[in-house]
Point group: C2
Chain length 210, copies 2
Amino acid sequence: MNTSNPPIRHSAKGQQTKAAIVDAALVLATQLGLEGLSIGALADIMRMSKSGVFAHFGSREELQISVVREFHNRFEQEVFFPALRCPRGLPRLRQLFENWVRRTSVEIDSGCIYISGAVEFDDRPGPVRDALAGSVEIWMGALRRAVSQAVDEGHLRSDVDAALLSFEIHGLILALHYEARFLNSDQALPRARRGFERLMQAHLAQAQTV
Amino acid sequence: MNTSNPPIRHSAKGQQTKAAIVDAALVLATQLGLEGLSIGALADIMRMSKSGVFAHFGSREELQISVVREFHNRFEQEVFFPALRCPRGLPRLRQLFENWVRRTSVEIDSGCIYISGAVEFDDRPGPVRDALAGSVEIWMGALRRAVSQAVDEGHLRSDVDAALLSFEIHGLILALHYEARFLNSDQALPRARRGFERLMQAHLAQAQTV
């Protein structure tokens, strides 16, 4: 790739180049934040001209939104889809949490745009915030459904408040990220797992000893 | 205050000016982050010269650390000290959480440097990160002690893991901040309170119905 051969946007090659730019942008965004993304820095990394990078996105905002979408896709691939192979109910919910914990553990080194992005954009309305919040909402909705399914399957008690339990689970992940990444605690990971198991045990249907 | 009367550092007047600069810097840091602080912007707000502001701190880093200390002091004043008026044990622990929740609710509009700062500095070692992490550690230590006292007083079960319970409580606060501030959820506040009460109920000593 060099500046004398500008990418053609709709060709297969153009799509490949765009995907490669988004990959590089995602690495940069997890390190520097979505607001740390610059077309110039990406052009350097990709050994392309700024206008070459710009041609694929049209604006920095569009680039940021593409990064959010890519992060969303990877999150689904790593956390959500593999859990669908587990039986509905508690086994799937446990696997969802375990996949989420594993991903968060990786992000203890690399950063997480759902967390850093929330801080960057919580007071900046606009399309990037909307893309990021929308992506998080989709995931939180999937988590709540997994909790509800565990109730429907008779694994968790029928009076479980799925939204409250999802909120508590979200809290464990946020505390894991905070205490492991910022406070360098090596106890955060076992605590998050024990916290989750305590939540499950507290809500098991009477007949269950899963 | 104008630039023709540079503040004298060690006089009472100098101390007042320094405190006023830190106040303004704290407002700026909760909005823009600690890394968003600039001597220039502060000088504008204070109607002082840049060198006038600089004379009080010597470096931007020292200014950032002063802001962390001021945030710490206010956190103690609002969250920690008022709870000491409650009896040791569960009443004090409940009041600590309630004060923390109230403070977090205010910060849903203004931002919290313990949360935004963690994202800004989790990959930036140095004195500002150390000041911030040290301040959070002091608070987490106070929280763990309040939990342990509730065990010692016979309010919570003797097998309670104070560090784990503190981690779970921290998670509720982080989820409250995230879901209320970033996702604009009006349910986050009641969920955080219900989550805390569930944690307490799950750990009450048998004889307790506090």
